[in-house]
Symmetry: C2
Subunit: 431 residues, 2 copies
């Protein structure tokens, strides 16, 4: 498209009218397209159906320790599940705790336990302090921010760069403010920007001096094996980095199979130092009798080992890659060169992050909604739902079929153009 600044007012008005006609035509189609959440499509779910045939009434239901998985017992998961996830996360099995179906619950419970009891290095429970703050590299994941809001944790926005959070900002903040107890990270194929933290960022996070002696990194490695290409991003092992830096208790890691097998019945996992885990297990033992052991065994028998997991994830990529390519192709053809939007080209994960001109995102999302295209609410990728520049839009291409996706992104491009022209026109008037 042409750059708007190269057009005069008449040309802008004409273009706007033309685009509006196209927009109105969509209005009549009564569309209902949802791209709000990173949700696998049915074809992806079909990849794991075989898992449902692996535990039957004639199966051996004892775990590697000889425990009858049908009965009570085992707060931190069956041994074979620990071993599997230890390999997946490149962490030793005793540093692993395997849970129920939601890593979100494990994150929530970990934050909640720290608020009620602190962590091993705390002098008091976090909730007894006058204020508790978390750093939130943004754009980021809205559900992390919701946990902070629920627990009355103040959020401090930190800028995201192409290689992770702006570490100059992070280091300065944690060095000076003892109330800063944590940082949320989606280190690989970050939600939503799709970037992977550089080795330097990982090392600086592991090494940095924190005024709070009980500072913790909440490392949500949700897309750890969710590559879209044959040249996956490399992420440095933060557990090793923290140990090497003399901060072995600094990090809580999380992951799950929600987007490996089934979001409606996956297995979640967390990892941390034995010291941290022992502390947490004592707290968790009050609130649960332990996770569903059947589903853990079912998963391990289905995913087997790293080789099988890799092959399985390639099948996901084969379904997802064309969707990501379609979105990027349309964005390029409709908006390329126009200097009114920029977008990510991730090597994995579930999102494409798009930035409009400042002050346009809310209106774009609203316009799209009015013709039946639901996007993640503008602002959701920032603490308190407030994008200071009102420009970030998270696109989740995974769920809709290609044809619907094409329509939805064309509509998105149309809305971005219309709102940008209006912006330009109102600026011309103001000048």
């Amino acid at each position: 498209m042409k750059r708007l600044k190269d057009l005069n007012t008449d040309e802008l008005n004409e273009l706007r009218q033309n685009l509006q006609k196209q927009y109105d035509a969509y209005k009549n189609q009564k569309l209902s397209l949802n791209m709000a959440r990173g949700k696998p499509c049915p074809e992806q779910l079909d990849l794991s159906m075989g898992m449902l045939d692996l535990l039957t009434s004639t199966s051996d239901l004892t775990d590697a320790n000889g425990t009858d998985i049908r009965n009570y017992g085992g707060l931190d998961g069956i041994p074979e599940a620990k071993a599997f996830f230890a390999q997946m996360m490149d962490i030793s099995p005793e540093e692993i705790m395997v849970g129920g179906n939601a890593s979100l619950s494990m994150m929530y419970d970990t934050v909640s336990a720290a608020m009620l009891h602190g962590v091993p290095d705390s002098t008091v429970p976090w909730s007894k302090l006058p204020s508790v703050k978390f750093l939130c590299p943004s754009p980021g994941y809205d559900r992390h921010f919701a946990i902070c809001e629920r627990q009355n944790i103040e959020m401090i926005t930190v800028d995201m760069t192409d290689v992770g959070p702006d570490m100059d900002q992070v280091e300065k903040l944690v060095r000076e403010d003892a109330a800063i107890k944590g940082i949320w990270c989606v280190p690989k194929y970050s939600n939503p920007t799709g970037i992977t933290y550089s080795d330097e960022v990982v090392d600086r996070l592991a090494r940095m001096e924190t005024k709070a002696s009980d500072f913790r990194i909440f490392w949500d490695n949700a897309y750890i094996v969710h590559h879209l290409t044959d040249r996956p991003d490399h992420l440095k092992n933060i557990m090793d980095a923290c140990k090497a830096a003399g901060h072995p208790d600094r990090v809580f890691l999380f992951s799950s199979t929600s987007k490996v097998t089934f979001p409606g019945g996956g297995v979640a996992v967390m990892a941390s130092s034995v010291n941290n885990l022992n502390f947490l297990k004592q707290k968790f033992s009050v609130q649960t009798i332990g996770p569903d052991k059947f589903n853990q065994l079912r998963h391990v028998r289905f995913l087997k080992d790293m080789e099988h997991l890799k092959a399985h994830m390639k099948k996901h990529a084969a379904i997802l890659k064309p969707k990501f390519d379609t979105v990027i192709k349309i964005l390029e053809s409709e908006l390329g060169g126009g200097q009114i939007a920029s977008w990510s080209r991730p090597n994995g994960g579930y999102f494409i992050s798009l930035n409009t001109l400042d002050g346009c995102a809310k209106e774009v999302v609203q316009m799209a909604k009015e013709v039946g295209v639901t996007l993640t609410p503008a602002g959701a990728t920032f603490p308190y739902g407030k994008d200071p520049r009102d420009r970030n839009i998270r696109i989740a291409p995974s769920f809709p079929p290609l044809s619907e996706l094409t329509t939805a992104i064309k509509i998105l491009c149309l809305c971005i153009q219309i709102v940008s022209i209006e912006k330009r026109l109102s600026q011309s008037v103001a000048q």
Copy 2:
């Protein structure tokens, strides 16, 4: 056995020596018998193996709403699971929330939400108050008490009678103290006393005036369908009673299939007014993406309806009843008439509650442990683990095979006799 008070010191010493010999003989057997927790035995678990064959790769995996259960969505359970549990609990489906595998987690999360945010009638979150207290009818369930301890809720012990908590005590306490926000109840085949609340107790709980406007009953109906005989106890519907009394939001009900199907992979459920549930769902949505929907569907397809459920629970009873009968038979033959212990004869549930002479329970449990019989720690059935009379012992007969159970209870009887004689002897000396 003879009454100890009918024996003189020589006779007591002789009896003691004789019993000690029997005890020492057990010591040499290096036994390892665990009766600490209400845990189904393998034969009971075998009853539900057919459930594992009901969801396969060729199954229809859409719920009654047409939702693909494999994907995200549905915070409060699939419709057919709500309908099933609504029937089981005699409550309408919109007052039901079906969860993951642990009702303990639902109880914990409900208490935790009230601490962080209050309940619909609260003016402030409970944790912002100078003190929060719960009534704990005791002997009761140690895991309820652990939730209170974890959340810094002060526990007030209330006596248990044969028809429920002492309601004179309860009514007086809640009328006078606004800090009392809740009461824990296991209303049917109570843990551990085995009694069922009378209609009058249910009505008084529903009707009573509470100084706290946001008082809540935590109604853990864990043994709702867990009858041991063909003449099951009747429990009045507390939801109806609360509505009739003008307190529709007063009660949170909980139950699960942990002891219907598998403790290691059951389905938990809670029920409350729509008002309460809407409030809770808003809070829970921050901490979970929703429960495992596969396991809910699997359960509904297996348990089907109330008729099947009833037939299924009869099979459990057929396995459990002989174990309960054995325990009671041995207690009667070894201790009957001796006036050194009394015990319950429940019509359902998982426990036999035994009271020794005052001041003997801890020593009895310790002696039993020393010959390899693990019982629930003495005191565990009271708040803070402190039985004021040190007399209550919870017997869980479900897990051990009959032969082991027989040995364990004989040892228990031996320990009770020895400790009681010692008690008697020390009293003689003191006199």
